[in-house]
Point group: D2
């Protein structure tokens, strides 16, 4: 089968590779669509626990081609959404119930072959029936599952006043989860107008166009709401944005660090302010047990995806897809279609 393969960082090609075979408790899935996201830019550079040679693609939906011994909940021909992340269940961390930090964490498309290929191999319990959702919707289950985990971690107080900075695919999904997750008001701030329009369409109570100058963003948002927001969320991954969030957070409020900043970036914060105004800072990373709830939310229609997919490419145009993701201001979710 054809698959995109990186031999080392920055060096990739579409190749013929052996199609995987389903062992006991495994399934082979023919990939219908696979999404790119910012993580793929990091993996391209060799970051974020990538292991080479690597076939990326951690957001996949497809059709079951083969089921291994003992697999009962899906059958050949069924469409499924794939959860790329699995915990071993046996390491000390898993034994403490902390599966997300499994010492043998397996992530298809990061440290195991992912969805930028005609077929992928998955533990059977990590594929979820999705024949009732269009592939363009099902492919968003994985990023939404991460956002569901984020909502678990955040444990939003009903009626909270929330600021979300960043309106990429992830920001738009997370903002919707919070809108329908109990927020009293959600304000979305980001630089690009059409993304804010989409936020509005999805129900954001207020949108604010800002620039990439975080100090100016802080001033604008402070003027808008001098008392601050109960919860401020970064979904930009820009440390300069994260740095100004405590100042935009109300007394007793929470700064939610959802975006992935550069590993060597630092923010400078006042511990007196954390103490005196009793701030909370919380990070959220990936997920390992939220797919069923993400799918339920997609089915409910409350979390919308219409308009999110802006680009689609065949496997052979992966380089172009990556470039679009990196530079095209009109892009949100960029998909690869290995069947094209």
């Amino acid at each position: 089968m054809r698959a995109l393969v990186y031999d080392e960082p920055r060096s990739f090609a579409v190749r013929d590779v052996p199609r995987p075979v389903a062992g006991p408790g495994e399934v082979v899935v023919d990939v219908d669509l696979a999404g790119l996201c910012g993580t793929d830019l990091h993996l391209h550079e060799g970051g974020f626990f990538a292991s080479f040679p690597l076939t990326p693609g951690h957001e996949s939906t497809g059709t079951v081609r083969e089921v291994g011994v003992g697999v009962g909940h899906v059958e050949v021909g069924q469409r499924v959404a794939v959860d790329n992340a699995s915990a071993c269940g046996r390491c000390p961390t898993c034994s403490r119930g902390d599966h997300l930090y499994c010492e043998d964490f397996r992530s298809l498309g990061v440290n195991a072959p992912g969805g930028f290929a005609e077929s992928l191999l998955s533990p059977a319990h990590k594929v979820y029936p999705a024949q009732d959702l269009p592939p363009e919707v099902a492919v968003l289950a994985e990023p939404l599952a991460c956002a569901v985990h984020g909502a678990d971690v955040l444990a939003l107080r009903p009626g909270a006043d929330v600021l979300v900075v960043g309106a990429g695919t992830t920001g738009l999904l997370l903002a919707q989860l919070l809108l329908h997750g109990g927020a009293g008001r959600v304000t979305v701030a980001a630089p690009t107008a059409f993304k804010l329009d989409l936020a509005r369409t999805y129900g954001a109570d207020r949108v604010v166009q800002v620039t990439r100058d975080a100090a100016a963003t802080a001033a604008t948002l402070h003027d808008l709401q001098p008392g601050g927001f109960d919860v401020t969320v970064d979904v930009t991954g820009a440390a300069s944005v994260v740095e100004v969030l405590p100042g935009l957070t109300a007394t007793n409020g929470t700064v939610f660090v959802y975006g992935m900043c550069d590993e060597d970036a630092r923010v400078s914060w006042s511990p007196y302010d954390v103490f005196r105004r009793q701030l909370t800072v919380k990070g959220s990373f990936a997920q390992v047990d939220c797919m069923d709830r993400a799918l339920a939310l997609l089915r409910s229609g409350r979390v919308r995806t219409d308009g999110l997919v802006t680009h689609r490419y065949p496997l052979s145009a992966y380089g172009e897809a990556l470039e679009t993701l990196r530079t095209d201001p009109t892009s949100l979710k960029v998909l690869l279609d290995p069947t094209a």
Copy 2:
């Protein structure tokens, strides 16, 4: 001014009484609209900590007529929503931070004069600016505030699968809070079709018409979802319904007792089941600090009220209003308009 006055249970009349005068830190509000709810039926009978003589009316909106010394956040002529409930802030329970169970709990319309009158007297901090909301919406802030408190108590897990039994005004408000409070799916079950239609309009994922035979309701809902619901909510106030909820609740799930059952009703439950399936049962009672969040949610438009108000009466037709509430199958929220 004219006011409805009960001298004792079941004995009421509209009377001329002295209009209240605002002391320091108080306001007098001319009532624009005041809602009736099931509690008023209990008060009519002398139940629920009523203290006589009594002017009921615990859901009120109106226009500020007079402000006492030291009142700054509202002014004469401004429209407001009234929070009927106040804690003293000084008793041992308040001193533990447990204001809802204040030993000197004051509830306008229950143990102090309420909104079924031309004017009411309120602590100033218990009236909230609401000029941007139509009175028909603002009058629902108090029952919604109770539901916000319910959501605080419930602390819904994002993506949870929820069953709400009961589709009166309260059920319809609470179901919406849960729908936009993170539920993955909300099923509303109730006997009357038009209330279920409204639930649908408001976004319920699924509605189920049931009868008042709780065993039959249990069977229907069990067939629909044999594994049970993560959260089951009673908003009927019928003990027969509460009794069947554990059996409809998934392992590790929660039974939420929001409805007010008769004081002498009992449910028979299996403590083995609570232990073995690790069930949680939680009650929620009234509120004392949720008005601002209720108003934010009404402003957001996510919690809808169109269609909720079915009847409106002048003060003089209070008896009729009570009768409508008690018996008319086409009624939801019944309002008194003391200006009519």
Copy 3:
């Protein structure tokens, strides 16, 4: 090797059976000590998901005899505490992160061979190094782990005023966890004086001798503390006790159902009281991820075990051990020693 085997409920014998062999990721442990508890009385009757033929024994400590391929964290000759419970990690419930309710829950001594034998077979990740703890202490890690899970579920508010009813091994462990788990005051009530003395020795703030007449117990405890306790805990497994707990619970408090009542027992409760006083009822069942924390607490010395083990028998005297557990008023933890 010799093992106690039930062919069917109530019919047991000590037999020669093949010693288990460690497959990959497994270990064989020579059992040093194994505890009996009330669950064993239920298993004897065939209850509590027992599967026959059965070798009971779910509280075990021993010495590693053999390690399978890929086992690194323990070695032959090392003493360990055994966690009898494992989740599959792959069923839908595990995939939601709810491992305790795994659809393929494996419990040594309940639905797989346990510790009433010379050796037992365990998944390697379910044995924990315990060479620094005497076997008489290490054997209590499993029941304490259940209590740690109980503490997780209960999430005690710091400073809470707690009532524990029941002072068997489990009550004495749980009471200590709560004493050192933030309780402001712990009152232990039970019928047998020497168990209350032990509770005192372990630090209980107050002990109350009661009878098996739950109404009388309720009256005594109500007189002692008319406002009720923030948290009331059943560790008797008597439904008559569970039934009176809401009445002994303070407004806004919690009834904690830790004891295992008979499957067909019922309690009769007032749903109005649950609503009006905003009570919470919570069940706690077993555990699957608390062993390391139980061992840490044993090591800290804060949870004490001196005096808990009252009887010790060789495997051949299992019948007598069971009888002691069932009827001897001087017994607390009864152990089997398969090396004797």
Copy 4:
């Protein structure tokens, strides 16, 4: 009566001032003992919302001299512990249930006259019967109440592995609360040996002597426990210490900012680390509703105070007391005795 009075920062004297008179709902307390703490050093400089002229003293115990109209729970001659902090109960923040951040927060000894005087005036509901506790113990109820609030905020997971840096009075109280608040292990690190000895006496599982060089402290503690601690607590108030805590915190763990750093100090942290390892940072500030629980814990004997009071001065020696607090390495709690 005699009282210590600051006319402005750094300028104080013991003066004759009118003794306060109890209005309705108020009491006058003759101060038996009043504690100094680091906050008094800040107040001396005019920091921390001090309002002048000021009589400091926020940790007081005494004997009721006079009760105002309507005061029932204490009587003249009774010994009490004083909670210096009160919320108004009426501002918008109080109305949201967030009394700790009351916009009219009253703090005896900070922005109202405190306990460095022969008598003080207090809202009646802010004095707690304490005749059963020696004054040397009762005077510690206020700092312990702050620590109880800290425990509320922290919501320690049972069995957590905790690091406390700092072993002043506050660190020693908080460490005990965590020791008896569910921690599996508590390690206390601080520079001064005799304070660590006291930590040991109080039950700390492990103590580590460090210097004031935070990088060296970090290296020492990292070597001791390379995987980090579930919870790391700063009770030094040194920003250099706070800065190194994330690196000493285990994946998924919490940094607890309990110490008060300088207002202009900054820490430099990695937002990637917060995201990737899902860290939580939480601040805790003062308290407003924890006195009864602090007193319960003092009564239980689990939180010990023997050895905490190292110095005692008459009112006239306030300057010396302040100097001892600032510079004497043998001091922990320093008390003023206005009766001396």
